[in-house]
Subunit: 239 residues, 2 copies
Amino acid sequence: MSISGVKALVFDVFGTVVDWRTSIAREAAPLLARYDESIDPVVFADAWRARYQPAMQAVRAGTRPFVRLDVLHRENLDAALRTVGIDPAAVPGTDLDRLNLAWHRLDPWPDAVEGLTRLKQRFVVAPLSNGNIGMMVDIAKRAGLPWDAVLGAEVARAYKPMPEAYLRTADILGLEPGEVCMCAAHNEDLAAARSCGLRTAFFARPTEHGPAQTTDLRAEQDWDVVADDLIDLARRLGA
Amino acid sequence: MSISGVKALVFDVFGTVVDWRTSIAREAAPLLARYDESIDPVVFADAWRARYQPAMQAVRAGTRPFVRLDVLHRENLDAALRTVGIDPAAVPGTDLDRLNLAWHRLDPWPDAVEGLTRLKQRFVVAPLSNGNIGMMVDIAKRAGLPWDAVLGAEVARAYKPMPEAYLRTADILGLEPGEVCMCAAHNEDLAAARSCGLRTAFFARPTEHGPAQTTDLRAEQDWDVVADDLIDLARRLGA
């Protein structure tokens, strides 16, 4: 397991660096309880997130111009509320807009700040997330994530796993694809990055989707590095 | 002098945060001496920089698609070499490409790291430079500039002083223009930012162009904040 020649580590964020599920549930709980105290905020978080991939598909397919994830999240929020029996038309618009910013207040996994801080000593570290720049800045500022730059879908104008998301990110950094390592807790993200020539690092987040998670529990290809978490990744990379 | 409501400080970089002239002269000196020991490296630095604004004009005018500053610098390098009597065709291409990266190795002014580090405690801090992302990352990594994100022309796809450079930057951060303060040692940059509704902070860099500098020695409008340098700016903003 070696990534010699790698100069930048780029990171998936949702699930890989931050625990979106617990955070969204916490942020949504007060509003949900106002309408129906029986709603499980985690069920709502899952319903909101379930609309994430489908919403990006129109942009990936080119049938919709690029819009940032904040916009897609806001559109998906109405549908997610209906899923748990709340009519979004009954909720004040300012409350919906404020709830939409819950995605800007996601907690890091416990190893994230230490791991990234160590890795930053040896590598350029940046998110390569489908989240937009403002969202990534707010998350990082609140959590103390020490990014060198905020890259990703909004900078590349393409959502992962489109090849442009990976290739443009390397080009923006002035690097060859093989000088960039994609770090993610998701095998599909890494497979797309590898097909573009990027190096790959995996560590599992076995409770991203809750205690009954069945996906991404282990590396499904021979990724360049397989670690336990971000601190272990730093150790394996000598950082 | 108040900037109440401001959440992000965005910075001009060349001249404002880093001393491009001394740095470029230092980086170019060995190559120049190989061809002609009588060339003053500072004269070469000024010749290279003199082609900076004209080169962006075609992009601003829309007659050329956006290209990053690395590309414009490389084009300008040949002409700058001719100015000091060196035929660029006589210089190996790899040497020219390496010299072009001199703009990635600019030294910060002595107050920059401490000032930005303090300001980062209270505000989002990011470059809003015409330099490209990779250049800004390399400068920051080498100098220890603690940016929260790397914004600017390449992210906005517009060169300052086009309004889009300022307005898209605020929008990307999810902020109103009045919640963003442009910080620069150049009155023209601030005038353009103000016309877009941004707040403005000025401090002079009286030796950016050498000891005989005649421009931007003082604030030419009543900018929202006028400081001595970045540390003084932090003090004035309570950071």
